[in-house]
Symmetry: D2
Subunit: 174 residues, 4 copies
C-alpha cells in the first residue's frame, strides 16, 4: 500500500481542547493543536532558550473518538501519524498550503497523563452527542477560515445529531 515511508512521532501538550466534528456519515474528525518544547543554547548569551513548536493534528476514526472524549487543553499525548499538506483557497483567491499530521487507522494516539489528572479535569464527558455539543460549537468554529478546517467534512447538523453509525472509511477522502 505504500512505496515510501511517511511517519511523524510527537510528544507534547494540547494548547486547547480538541475540536471535534463529524462527517455526514457521523464519523468523528478531531483537530488538535499540539505543542512540542525544545530548548537550545543561545550563541550570543550562552543561555538556554526555550522554543515551542506548534503542530496541527487531525485524527480520524476510532482514535478520533477517544481523543475527543478524553483529551483536554493541557493534556500530554503521544502522536504517531503521517505528514500531509493540503491546498486551500485564501479569500484573495490565492492558493494556500497547510501541513498537518494525520492520524488514521495506521497511526497511534496515546494519552500520557496518568490517572485522570493532567488535563482531564473539566468533568468526565459522557456520551458522544454531548461531546459534539461541548467541543465543536458550531457558531464559533464555522467562521474559521479554511486553515482551521480539514477539507471535505462538515459539522453535524446541530440539534439533529444523527445517530453516529460507525461506517467509517466511507467518506474520508484518502
Amino acid at each position: 500500500m505504500a512505496r515510501g515511508v511517511n511517519k511523524v512521532i510527537l510528544i507534547g501538550n494540547l494548547g486547547q481542547d480538541p475540536d471535534t466534528r463529524y462527517t455526514p456519515n457521523g464519523n468523528a474528525v478531531v483537530n488538535l493543536n499540539l505543542a512540542t518544547d525544545e530548548s537550545y543554547k543561545d550563541r550570543q548569551t550562552g543561555q538556554l532558550v526555550p522554543k515551542t513548536e506548534w503542530h496541527r493534528i487531525v485524527l480520524f476514526g476510532k482514535v478520533a473518538e477517544v481523543a475527543g472524549q478524553y483529551l483536554r487543553k493541557g493534556s500530554k499525548v503521544y502522536i504517531e501519524g503521517k505528514l500531509q499538506t493540503r491546498k486551500w483557497q485564501g479569500q484573495d483567491g490565492q492558493d494556500r498550503y497547510t501541513t498537518e499530521v494525520v492520524v488514521d487507522i495506521n497511526g497511534q494516539m496515546q494519552m500520557l497523563d496518568s490517572r485522570g489528572e493532567g488535563g482531564m479535569n473539566q468533568g468526565a464527558p459522557a456520551g458522544r452527542p454531548q461531546q459534539s455539543g461541548n467541543n465543536a460549537p458550531a457558531g464559533q468554529q464555522s467562521n474559521n477560515p479554511p486553515p482551521q478546517q480539514s477539507g471535505g467534512y462538515s459539522q453535524p447538523s446541530q440539534g439533529s445529531m444523527p445517530e453516529p453509525v460507525d461506517d467509517f472509511d466511507d467518506d474520508i477522502p484518502f
Copy 2:
C-alpha cells in the same frame, strides 16, 4: 534539551536536484523536495489509487554538505528530522506559514541508491566551491519567493566564496 518529542521519518525520492546555499559563515544549507508515495483503495471504484505527498526538507551542517554533493533528482533517501513551521510575509503583506522537516545535528540522512546508480549519474562533483557554483546559481534562486527560502541565510557572495570553515552552529537561527 528537549521536553518533548518531535520526530519525522521519511523515505522517498527527490523531485529535483538539491538546492544548496551557504550562510555568511560558509555553512551549507540544503533544500530538498521529497516525494513519498502511498496508495489507497478508492471506495467508489475499488481501485488502487496512487497518491504522492511532497515534503520540504532543510538540511544543515555536515549532512547538508553530503546531501548537496551526492543527491540528485530522483535519488532515494531516508530522512530523519523534526517538524518546524516558519512564518513569512506574502507579497500582500499577510502572514504565510510553511512547514518543513529540519535535519540538523540531531537528524539523519541516508542515501538509499545502491552503487552509484539511481540519481547519482551526473558525474562526481568534486570540491565544495564548485558545488556551490553548480547547485546554487544565485541569479536563478534568488528570485524565489519566501516559501522557497529558509529564512536568515543567504547565498554565497560569489567569487569570494569565503573559506568554508566548519564553525557551524554560529549562525543557524534555532
Copy 3:
C-alpha cells in the same frame, strides 16, 4: 489496543535469503537476518571502526509473503516492527531468551533495492506453493533448536518436501 509504544525502525541488508515457513493454516511466517552498519571513532586510535549489528526479524501475514518472494541475500530493506522477547528451553533444560523484531499487520516492510538489481537476482519466484517448497524444507528445518523457530507455527505439507536449499541458519549465533 496498546497502552504503550513499542516500535523498531531498521534499514539494513539481509545476511541470507529469507527463511519462509507456513503455519498449519497456510499463513506465511518469514525470518530475516538483517545487518545494520554503523561506524564509530575508536578513542585509542582515533580511527573509524565499522560495526555491524545483526537483527532477527519475523514477519507475519501479507508482508511475509512479499518478503519471502522478493527479498534475497543482500537485499536492502526498511523494517518497522516491534520488539518481542520469547523464552525457550535450551538442551540443558535451562531458559534461554531470544529477542526479535516482529512485523505484523501493524508493521511495515519496504524493499529499497531499485529496479530489480540488489539482491533480487535469482529469478522471480512464482506462486506460493513453490515458494513453500523452496524456502521451507520440512525435514531439515524441523531439527532446528528452538531459537531457530518462532513459536507456535509449524511447517507446510510435510513428507513431500523437495530439495531443501535454505539451510543456512546453522551458524547464526542466535
Copy 4:
C-alpha cells in the same frame, strides 16, 4: 557515521528502580527494565488479552545521570535508542546473547510523569554520590549473572568512589 538505520522507540513503565553503575572513569551507566503493554483479541475466546513486553535498556552519559537520579520503579518514560545484542558466557561455558536498547548521545530519554507524581515518590534523591550509593549497592549487584551486566564497564571501586567528574550541566537540564 552510519550506513544503516537502527532505531527503537518505546514508551512504558519501569519494573524496578534504575540500576546505576559507574565506569572506572566515573561515567554513569544505567540499566532499566521497561514494560510496554499491549492487548490483543484472543481468536478463541474473542476476549481482549493484556500482554506485557519487557525491555532491557542501557543508558550512557548524561542521559544516564538523569535517569538514575529521577526515574523510579513505576516511572513512565519515553526511550529512543538502538538495538544491540551482546554475547556473554554462561556458567556452562556456552555462549549466550542478550539484546538491549542502548541510549547514548544519539538517543533520547523523556520522563513522562507529570509533577513529581508517578513513580517519583520515594523522596527526592539529592547529590550524585549518594545516588551511587543508593542505586548501585556493589555487594548486591555484583552477584548478578552476566546478563545483568553491560559488558566493559565495572562498578565503582567501592569506598574510593572517584569523585564523579562529569559535572556537565547544572543538575537539572530539562
